[in-house]
């Protein structure tokens, strides 16, 4: 444990990873609450595949990965929202179509260019320790923006999630708030890819909310406890991966699974 703290103090990349990871875990968990409750859990998963495809494409074509990926993922998030709202294609099918399609494009791009390089590998499985300083700065700014926007629209996000038709009847443009949720999710997914990897990021969105909902029954408590669960899981997972040389993303998810099981058990005994 002591070596861990010494490492954080003496290696700036450790400290950076810690800050970015905690912020991104926070973003994922608070956004996870409306996403899970609106039954949009798989959007995070779909978007992460799209992000992977976009990054592979950007690397193959020589674009800057983040600058290319963020707008692509935001556009996809809006498209998914439109598709699932107008009901022509069922929401889950729309997500599956787009995510597998993007994954295929990504794999093609990788194999037609240089093959699997470390960059692409990092985005698939996460590499919070190898983040450059500029990436870290960008991530911190974006994560802070996500949290501030979430706070400013907290009450409206709650209301849109609970009963959209009531707000629509009252003349509110609920579409704008749905777009806001999609937008924030898109940004968070791209950020989270550096920490968790494209394959695991949606775990960070879904697990904390599900754990929190076992024990807490009001919106505020669920949001706050999901936030806490997520950040604690990150810190413990991060320490575990340092101490036992395990992959960071997977360690964090394993801690989340354990917490979910504990919370479910407590809920069972409380009944």
């Amino acid at each position: 444990m002591r070596a861990f703290f010494e490492a954080i103090i003496s290696y700036p990349f450790m400290l950076r990873a810690l800050i970015v990871g905690a912020l991104v875990s926070g973003c994922c968990s608070v956004l996870g609450v409306p996403l899970v409750l609106k039954r949009y859990s798989m959007i995070g998963d779909g978007l992460s595949h799209v992000a992977f495809g976009a990054i592979a494409l950007a690397t193959a074509l020589g674009f800057a990965p983040m600058a290319f990926t963020i707008p692509v993922v935001i556009l996809t998030a809006f498209l998914l929202l439109r598709l699932s709202e107008n009901g022509k294609i069922k929401g889950d099918a729309a997500i599956a179509l787009i995510s597998t399609g993007a994954l295929a494009v990504g794999v093609m791009a990788v194999s037609l260019s240089k093959g699997m390089n470390t960059d692409v590998y990092n985005y698939m499985f996460g590499s919070v320790l190898s983040m450059s300083e500029s990436d870290v700065t960008l991530s911190i700014i974006l994560a802070a923006a996500v949290i501030v926007l979430f706070l400013c629209f907290y009450h409206k996000i709650f209301a849109v999630t609970f009963d959209e038709s009531f707000l629509k009847a009252g003349g509110m443009k609920t579409g704008a708030y749905n777009m806001l949720i999609s937008f924030l999710t898109a940004v968070t997914v791209v950020l989270g890819m550096r920490v968790m990897g494209a394959l695991l990021i949606s775990a960070l969105i879904i697990f904390p909310t599900m754990s929190a909902m076992r024990l807490f029954k009001t919106f505020k408590k669920v949001v706050l406890s999901a936030l806490l669960i997520s950040v604690v899981s990150f810190l413990v997972g991060f320490y575990f991966s340092y101490a036992y040389d395990a992959p960071t993303g997977a360690s964090i998810v394993v801690i989340n699974i354990i917490l979910f099981l504990i919370f479910s058990l407590i809920a069972k005994f409380k009944k």
């Binding site: 400013c152 009450h155 009963d163 038709s165 009531f166 009847a169 009252g170 003349g171 509110m172 505020k220």
Partner: protein
């Protein structure tokens, strides 16, 4: 005074009409029951009234009322079962439709919400979870939300669905009280003929091409008086 006027309304999905040539108006302070069989277009009409679905032709003319004074009470069965939300959070959210820009609730908003909870006698449940309440309590909470939204028109889509008859009766009494004492106009879709007879001031009866509209006794007791078709 007319609150809402509809002339030669035609509504439906993908260009296919569910009903057409519907003409009626809702007077301020009336208690309108919309009756009709399944598939007669009751819910379609409600969606139109709420602005969730645009008519194919014709228009809803609202007079002297703004959009945020219309409140919708969904069926409690529509509200998701496991949703974590406290009664306080829900009632307070009624305030949102009248405040567009401020991200946080003011003291006045909280007072109004408290008042509404008191009025519906759910103030003791403020910190309870909505999902743990009984059907009747849930209805009261949703009504409290409508009151906290300062609603002048209340639109309900089969509110008695999934409630037992005692709770349903209570709900009608509450609505009747809000209607008579506070002049809140009520537009309600229902199957319940007996309740319509007891509580409605006006009835709109939808049935394939034979739509009737008028005062309760006119519609129910004179089969020859046909609405415009």
């Amino acid at each position: 005074m007319n609150l809402l006027k509809c002339e030669n309304l035609k509504m439906g999905y993908d260009g296919k009409a569910v009903f057409e040539d519907l003409t009626f108006s809702v007077e301020k302070g009336s208690f309108l029951f919309v009756l009709g069989e399944n598939g007669s277009g009751k819910s379609t009409l409600i969606k139109g009234i709420l602005g969730l679905l645009h008519p194919i032709s014709g228009k809803f003319h609202w007079e002297g009322i703004s959009r945020n004074e219309i409140a919708y009470l969904s069926q409690t069965t529509e509200v998701k079962k496991e949703f974590p939300a406290s009664v306080g959070e829900i009632v307070l959210s009624g305030r949102l439709t009248s405040k567009r820009f401020s991200p946080f609730y003011s003291k006045k908003d909280r007072e109004k919400a408290k008042e509404s909870m008191k009025y519906m006698s759910v103030e003791d449940l403020e910190h309870r979870s909505f999902s743990e309440l009984s059907g009747g309590q849930q209805q009261r909470v949703l009504l409290a939300r409508a009151i906290s939204a300062s609603a002048r028109v209340l639109v309900l889509d089969e509110p008695s669905k999934g409630l037992d008859s005692k709770v349903t009766e209570e709900l009608y009494e509450l609505l009747s009280h809000m209607n008579k004492k506070h002049g809140i106009t009520i537009i309600m879709v229902s199957h319940d003929m007996a309740a319509a007879l007891k509580y409605a001031s006006h009835i709109l009866s939808l049935s394939d091409g034979r739509n009737k509209y008028g005062k309760t006794d006119e519609v129910l007791f004179s089969s020859e008086k046909e609405g415009k078709r």
